[in-house]
Symmetry: none
Subunit: 176 residues, 4 copies
DNA sequence: GATGAATGAGCCTTCATTCAT
DNA sequence: GATGAATGAAGGCTCATTCAT
């Protein structure tokens, strides 16, 4: 039964990640539960509050980001520019921006703020390393802080609230 | 009483602009009405639907943008770089990103899509002119399309949903 | 100006009659005003309350009914059966049923009940006459009271709330 | 809790039947919920939309009607006239007219029209049988179609919108 | 542990009615 | 006299959260 529970918890965060990335942070939690294939009560049993769920998603995204950085560590010496470019691309494809509005709610919660700060610290530390290398290779401005870099990633990957990315083409030339 | 009504309509769009810019597009319309100092029914009398209100805001932002561009036209010959920089800054301070999610809803509405397209066309035309000059002065890449430029402005000025920009400082060095 | 006002009042009751007959008594008074080509405030100036408007409609319908009866009086001696049949048909085409729900609201109002009773009395009196003749001619049951006759007319002419008399054919053979 | 839920669903349709029969189809659903002793959200959980609730009521009325016809089947051979009279009386006491305005809304809904048609078909079939017998016994006109018979029942049992059946006695002699 | 059911609170929208011009 | 504007109250519906099985 423990395994079942863990599997459910995982399915729930996975579902939340998918729905957050596509529809933004305003999704009904019942939609997350449905997407995860569990009942709404199960979701609440595992995460207690909406904020805790989002926090779990944040942890998961952090782990993805750290793993991504780790994965690129080797390539760095071969071809710094290539390494940096693909790293940024891969980090962006995690779509950290999707979580921002949700995380603001967490930051508003006295009790959860510290958890969030810790998660963010992990990320900033990892960014620090990698930015050093990038700066050494002359690939980014000297004064780009980890926080600033993170903000940029988040800003650029915030999802539109969904409905019709099809109908409404805001982009002109895709490469412009 | 015609004057009163016009004043109210103006107060409502002004309130909507403020609240959209700070809290994003998910605000209750009752909050807009309250901020404007009118009853909710007055808001609906003037705008009929949430979409029409947002469309009015979009028109207002367009007018601001066009006026901003106009205002910078003179400076252009003196100091192109300065002109371009301040123009971009001023356009960004209109915070076009605040409206995006709201406008998506409009674009979803068969009946309002054309209005939206027209508004956007006005802006793109104005951007076209100004981008030509900027390209001529070597200030932007040759292949930056008006649509792409607009997308960039909007992406970068999307507001956080609010609660506590105080508590949670995502930015590191402000200039980084 | 007096003539204008009277014309407006008349236009309003006429509009109310039309809308009541087709959509039932739940119509917005603003729709009545619009149909009459006047502002909503004009409607209220003339009728004060929704109930008074309906009362005016009731008076108008009463007048139509009385006039109808009068009109048939002559024919009675020639051909009683024909007279009775066409009379009933003509009375039904006034659609008294359309007003019933509205009149119930009036009857609920202490102050207006008497007006309503008086109007109804006029009708019942007229029915009394005519029913006597019909009974004498053996065209209706002896025990049909004026009130009962009126109730029957009203019941049978109550309008459906409108939307789709087209889509939904409740009637089978029209003559069955 | 499955049993509880079913009991609630039943209580809700029962409440709806009562309120529809007495106040007509314009009742607030919150009143239905209250009468059923449940919260408004419970009503919506069970029925989703106002139309679905009314459809459930329609099904219930159909079942009552079919059961009523079945119940009278035996008596038919003994005393056809008595059987027919009491049958009609019992069918009328189901007050099918109460639902008409509500059903019109359903008929307007593309998705629900078929359900409604099916329910109605069940009733018409049952009427067909019984009308045959009545015609054989010379109790009704040969050309009375089931649809026409149903229409008559519905027309005659449409409830008044309520307020004060006490104050306002539209009926004269009850038997006239 | 998992689940569906229940619920109140909240936002959207409409309408009867009043007011100022 | 006539008008459009303003407004609160009410009903429709959804969602986060809790409870009982």
């Amino acid at each position: 039964m423990r395994a079942d529970a863990a599997a459910n918890a995982h399915a729930i965060t996975a579902a939340a990640k998918v729905l957050l990335a596509t529809h933004g942070a305003d999704i009904p939690l019942s939609a997350v539960a449905e997407q995860a294939g569990v009942g709404i009560a199960t979701l609440y049993r595992h995460f207690g509050t909406r904020e805790e769920l989002f926090l779990a998603v944040a942890r998961s995204l952090r782990d993805q980001a750290l793993a991504t950085i780790e994965r690129h560590r080797a390539r760095w010496d071969e071809d710094p520019e290539k390494a940096w470019t693909t790293l940024v691309h891969d980090l962006a494809s995690i779509r950290p921006g999707a979580l921002i509005p949700g995380l603001l709610d967490i930051a508003a919660d006295e009790a959860l703020r510290d958890d969030l700060t810790r998660i963010r610290g992990d990320i900033l530390n990892a960014f620090d390393d990698v930015l050093e290398k990038a700066k050494a290779a002359g690939l980014v401005q000297e004064d780009l802080s980890p926080a600033r870099f993170q903000l940029g990633l988040a800003t650029l990957t915030r999802p539109l609230p969904d409905p019709l990315c099809r109908t409404c083409r805001w982009t002109g030339s895709a490469t412009g």
